[in-house]
Symmetry: C2
């Protein structure tokens, strides 16, 4: 048993990741089992360990793909807008929409913890940084000061992330899932209003 030419190594990795995606979507993170994934792609558990160091490594790659998808969504959302207000609103609503659409994958992306001692790859952190950069750019018209804009962007992004985090976990209690859009919209509007006000104050 050693079918060499059934699939490329890269194909196998992709198949495993897709199987993982399906499992997470269907049963949550608990559905991610080595044996389950292996049988889903028609291989034995041991083969998975030729493709990835271990399940944590597989999850990191899955998360990277999710992050890439999210990045794409934000980019297209941004491309279809004209005014600065619309850009910011589009980014936020795209972020929220993606979260609600892919609750489980999004949850895995931000809640997966590596065992202590292991660090996230640097390109991973860089991707998150890129997301922040996009938001920071969208915030430029509202906050001309170069120095503190990064901090403001980070604050706003954290805020929206918090809404998504609670919504995805079903911990917004009495608020429906639809409510996540409303809450984030309020957060954005009030925050932008605050930015403008403080900008006025500095002139």
């Amino acid at each position: 048993m050693a079918r060499r030419t059934d699939h490329t190594r890269e194909e196998l990795r992709e198949m495993a990741l897709e199987a993982a995606r399906r499992a997470v979507r269907r049963e949550g993170p608990a559905g991610l089992t080595a044996r389950g994934l292996a049988s889903a792609i028609g291989y034995s558990p041991g083969t998975l360990y030729n493709l990835f160091a271990d399940l944590d490594d597989l999850i990191v790659h899955l998360n990277a793909a999710t992050l890439e998808t999210l990045e794409g969504r934000l980019k297209t959302a941004l491309a279809q807008t004209a005014s600065p207000e619309a850009s910011a609103a589009a980014m936020v609503s795209a972020y929220v929409a993606f979260t609600l659409e892919e609750k489980a994958l999004w949850g895995l992306l931000f809640e997966h913890r590596l065992p202590p001692g292991r660090e996230l790859p640097t390109w991973y952190q860089q991707r998150i940084g890129a997301l922040l950069g996009m938001l920071e750019e969208a915030l430029r018209p509202f906050h001309p000061e170069e120095a503190s804009r990064a901090l403001a962007a980070r604050a706003l992004w954290c805020g929206v992330h918090g809404v998504c985090s609670l919504a995805a976990g079903g911990k917004l209690a009495s608020v429906t899932d639809q409510g996540a859009a409303e809450v984030s919209e309020v957060l954005l509007k009030v925050f932008l209003a605050g930015l403008e006000k403080t900008a006025e104050g500095h002139h």
Copy 2:
């Protein structure tokens, strides 16, 4: 072996929860094992299942205690302030401080997911509602309109929660942990400024 009078049932539950606390603090959620907890309190694994339905049930009770502690922190923070600005700031900084102080417990509180089908107890949701109520009350001077204040409070709380969530997970990237305080402070200030501005606009 059936030492009846060693400890009350309630004492046992408390011992188990305290052992769980220590384990989570030391090794994260992964450190929570039935056998580990049992040996930590000097009993056998089976005994744990006389005290709690299962590990998920134990975690829910642990989270309830954590939530209670957090609630207490916010209350005392609130009691030591005079002005509305100080109240809001005190609540936010108390929330952030608790998060950084108890990263693992806080993470367990918000990131633990029950297996699908099981719901969180209602008193649990009510406690979260109480937290929101405190913040909403602190926001009263900034946002007189009764109707939308709840939404504003929720939005702000989600925002602060997002900062904490990313900070506790070490996903604020280049920002140090100390940065969580700064980010949340910016979020609060800008948000409050925005609230005042919109309030002005409505009169």
